[in-house]
Symmetry: C2
Subunit: 652 residues, 2 copies
């Protein structure tokens, strides 16, 4: 094991200064040094984002101070034969609206492994959405002495991947409405003539993408002039049923007024109005494709086969039918490369993809994890974060992400806080922006003990996958020894491999050394083989019910609409896909108010949708908003630029 | 004069290959070499986008192959004392829908100046919108042997400036609707308590941006608790009149179905529905701010004072009132740096900002032009392109852009084609995507002569600014000598300094050497001082009428709505701003079908809006769409990615 040349230990101050002050107090390392430490050569990455350099052009590299680079996908091919490192997923208990420090713990654990335990380590995390950054949550770079830097670059634009998703998603949306519009006003022949116009010599040709539709229709002719009128009609007329369209527009902003809108009200659109809406960009199927794809060629196929709705005859209509699979791939070609950044203690971080775990599959990219596992090699660690509680983020990590990647984790870390466990034990509601009730600030061991049912269920659910579970107790200054011991006991009683108190927020990697050691032992002592919660070859309903059971549900109730959609996807041949539940993150059940470990409830499935390109069916459990809103006083009130220094201020 | 080390002459093929094939046949130079040739040191720029590098990290710079860099704004401060080079604006005659090769001529002229005439030269052009790239127009990198490379990077995302504009614009839009929503359901006191919540110690504070609103309201208190109930109300309640809102959402996609929409139809929005719509992103006021700003501090002020509508009492409500001026600046902090690219012949190009000229002010950024003028220095040339015909793009260049920049052009180039002049002389309609009528493919000198009235009016309009006018006749293979001579004669008769035939599409810079020589002479022989078309201290109507007169109008007719808006902006104290007409690019008049040089018409002003942050009033002349649509067969049908090589195919 060669220890890292870039990892370094921090000097910490007490009390812990503001996140942005800590972030600004550390000079980022040359990212090329971090890359070199991972055996990445310059031909493995694209420079991206900012750098500062001084001196002559020939000397620039010595002063290179690049803040992020995109690691290029071909790295995977080059390292194909190398063995992987250990693979660790970080999930959490059911959180309060304040969050339980899962990103912070993920970063802190990696700082411990890299800067204190001399391990090769890569942190794999998601790119944050700008919606929450300017809304209620603020940034997502971790906090205290466990952060990804530079945090302003991390939280804003980064290398533009989410913007690329927005652009691609909305180009497809525009193509859908416009195609229906043009089909409504043109004869089959006129449509066909426009789709395959004669060139200067009067000769017509199909473009490459049109052959995909021809193939789907079973037409093997290559000369447009040879098509029969029936073939012309079936080729040129997608005949989209407006009521069947599931493709929505997206925007990376918390804009609640776009949740439900009517489009097409301009006079030129001739009355073709339609109700639709916007989701936040990270909820786009294209984000899920980015997170689950394994290569450019795979991404091209997934983007092309995304289903936007049905024809009036009930056949799925795809992006390729609309002529767009190629153009969408072009828009996403750079987004497929993960971005290399660093922690405060100089350990490498791969940032890539950013689906939410409640309304999407909630995990960073397969590509980043695969590259990272090769880069750390045997004995090294890749720590990847799954969103929200382990019921949603980590469940989808196992059953969707690992299914597509073929990767096997050795250890699942579950992050718990005394605060959240007290809430699960019956403590008063925790509301963002309001002062905490004193129940959370003074010792109350019985409240903690009562809440540990939540932790216990998450542990047993994770153990069922055949991984070792380590509980990371993210300690707050108000936690007492008795409370912390209660959590440790409950965790080991529930079958955790270990339960460790961590103070990485206050102390950086040093505060997570014990956690690092526990995770190492957990990875080295796997006794079971990994198994999924459900096989793919059962019905959609059986899969939904398997997941519902893991939530504690006694049964599942399907709305009429859900029944209709399940029947449709079944008849369309999409039963073989895994399931991505869209469910509140605030309870095992569909009811955010039900804390602890509810059981016996009936899980209501309001609707069922499909992301065929990404590769999953997603049932909507109760009402799930796919577009957040802004509070009365959003974070943006505090954010400004120091126009003299160019520094961002007020970002948290 | 030190001649360029990077400029190089091309080998050209005949017939001219496809644009993408030419672009791919040339290896881009190391952008650092191009930067060095402009006396830019590495500390003057940020690396951005792609590069390829081989070898050890220490050697990476030698192999640097960066495709674009962002030139940092502080360059301007450093070169403050240096004298400027010559400043040339490229406009055109009233175009056909096929375009007259204005970008191509701009690039070709610079290739001639740099690679053949040994001049320091920088091309300043706009970043293209992705809407037309995937819609009907294709890319905007020039064409043939006069292109900006790499054309796929140029046309797609680039360094994310337009995406940043979209994000900023839509954050403001979301804040408007959400603020109205929260104000509707909360008492003054509750609103105030949320805007200025007590911290842990129970103390309230105003955030910095709130002091801007307090100042505007004439409240000089610094402690929130000291405000009277009336002051609390006036501070916390913006009381936006929904019918007065002029701020629309934007998207960089041709999505006609978003032109007019109804938002807020979700059940949680409690019936607060509102009609609004999306514009294409380049029409955002934030794009205009980017194009007209001169520094970070200036941009901060402009973004904060953008007016989104009025309070019910009729007072303008600004982005700063909503708490957003700082956050918008943070989103735009990197976008303010222009992007350095290169032509096929290795001359430098600054790409920055991209407003359309028909619905916005149509010129690239002041910042890029200012930097470029310093970099080329005395005897060097900055060639900047103004959109569409000189009646809109170049008019706004003179009266808006030069007014804000304080810069003075020496020469205006007007690009003309025989094809467009034949159309103006009475030739049949030219329609994109349909074969050209034979009138355009065979000699018809009288048609050309008749059409030259259009060219003549553009020449005399431009001469009125006190600049020398050079006509660039962009030659097509079907043009005859007699036709070309007719254009030359008409141009010099109308007072042009010179009129030159160019073949840069077929021959690169070599085909524009005569044009380069003519432009040099025009710059060296300025006899007049620059003057504007109208002073700022006359009424809004007088300014509109001055511009209308330059179109050939006999008068102006204002709708009731326009009258109302003019009265409002006048009473709000915005009369001092220049005017940015939103008018069809296909005629001097409001009627696209009126070719040649129409006169005697009455110009209808349908509505009047204001971009207070950008700094202009914009009358809408007739019906102008601010969101393009997709045709039946958009460009995207041909665009794909070669997933083996990663190369973009089918982009034109």
């Amino acid at each position: 094991m060669v220890s890292s040349k870039t990892a370094r230990k921090l000097e910490v101050a007490s009390p812990v200064p503001a996140d942005i002050d800590i972030a600004n107090s550390v000079s980022p390392l040359h990212i090329s040094d971090i890359a070199a430490d991972l055996n990445l050569s310059p031909h493995h990455y694209d420079l991206y984002g900012k750098f500062k350099a001084k001196g002559r052009v020939e000397e620039v590299i010595r002063y290179l101070y690049i803040l992020s680079v995109d690691v290029l996908l071909p790295v995977l091919d080059e390292f194909q034969g190398s063995p992987d490192g250990y693979y660790v997923v970080v999930g959490g208990i059911t959180p309060t609206p304040l969050g339980e420090g899962k990103s912070t713990t993920t970063v802190g654990l990696c700082q411990a492994l890299g800067a204190f335990l001399d391990k090769k380590v890569v942190t794999c995390i998601r790119q944050p959405s700008q919606g929450p950054t300017f809304g209620i949550k603020g940034g997502a770079a971790g906090g205290g002495y466990s952060q990804v830097i530079p945090m302003d670059e991390f939280n804003l634009h980064l290398t533009g991947d989410i913007h690329a998703i927005t652009a691609a998603n909305n180009l497809l949306a525009a193509a859908i409405d416009t195609r229906m519009f043009h089909e409504a006003s043109q004869s089959d022949k006129a449509l066909f003539n426009r789709l395959c116009p004669p060139n200067k010599e009067g000769k017509r040709t199909f473009s490459d993408i049109m052959f995909r539709r021809l193939k789907k229709l079973g037409i093997d002719k290559t000369n447009p002039d040879d098509l029969t009128p029936e073939e012309v009609k079936s080729f040129a007329r997608l005949d989209i049923d407006p009521d069947s369209i599931t493709w929505r527009r997206v925007m990376d902003v918390n804009d609640r007024f776009l949740r439900k809108i009517t489009v097409g009200q301009g006079p030129e659109e001739k009355g073709m109005v339609r109700e639709t809406g916007f989701d936040i960009s990270v909820a786009s199927e294209i984000m899920a494709v980015l997170a689950l794809t394994t290569s450019l060629a795979d991404m091209r196929e997934r983007l092309g086969k995304m289903v936007i709705g049905n024809s009036k005859a009930g056949d799925p209509v795809t992006a390729d039918d609309l002529g767009l699979g190629g153009a969408l791939t072009v828009l996403m070609k750079d987004a497929i490369n993960p971005t290399l950044m660093q922690t405060l203690e100089g350990t490498p971080v791969l940032v890539h993809a950013g689906p939410f775990a409640n309304i999407a599959h909630g995990n960073s990219s397969v590509v980043a994890d695969k590259i990272a596992l090769k880069l750390v090699g045997p004995g090294g660690f890749v720590v990847t974060e799954a969103g929200f509680g382990a019921d949603i983020g980590a469940e989808k990590f196992m059953n969707i992400k690992c299914r597509y990647s073929g990767l096997t984790p050795q250890c699942a870390v579950i992050v718990a806080t005394v605060r959240a466990l007290k809430m699960h034990g019956g403590g008063p509601a925790v509301v963002a922006g309001r002062p905490l009730d004193r129940a959370y600030l003074t010792e109350n061991v019985s409240l903690v003990e009562a809440g540990c049912v939540n932790l216990a269920r998450h542990i047993s659910n994770m153990k069922a996958y055949g991984v070792n579970v380590v509980v990371a107790i993210n300690m707050f200054s108000t936690d007492t020894e008795a409370e912390l011991n209660a959590v440790k006991k409950a965790a080991t009683d529930a079958g955790a491999f270990d339960a460790v108190i961590c103070t990485h927020h206050a102390h950086g990697g040093k505060g997570a050394v014990d956690l690092g050691i526990a995770v190492q032992k957990a990875c080295e002592n796997v006794t079971e083989t990994m198994r999924f919660l459900y096989p793919l070859d059962i019905s959609i309903k059986e899969k939904i019910e398997a997941i519902a059971k893991s939530y504690g549900a006694a049964g599942v109730e399907y709305s009429e609409q859900a029944e209709k959609q399940i029947a449709m996807y079944t008849s369309q041949g999409f039963t073989h896909l895994p399931i991505c539940m869209a469910k509140t993150q605030y309870s095992f059940s569909h009811n955010a108010a039900e804390k602890g470990a509810p059981s016996g409830f009936i899980l209501p499935i309001r609707d069922v949708r499909a992301s065929i390109g990404a590769g999953f069916i997603y049932p909507l459990v109760g009402t799930m908003s796919t577009m957040p809103g802004l509070p009365t006083r959003p974070c943006f009130f505090d954010i400004d630029l120091d126009t003299t220094t160019g520094r961002v201020i007020g970002l948290s």
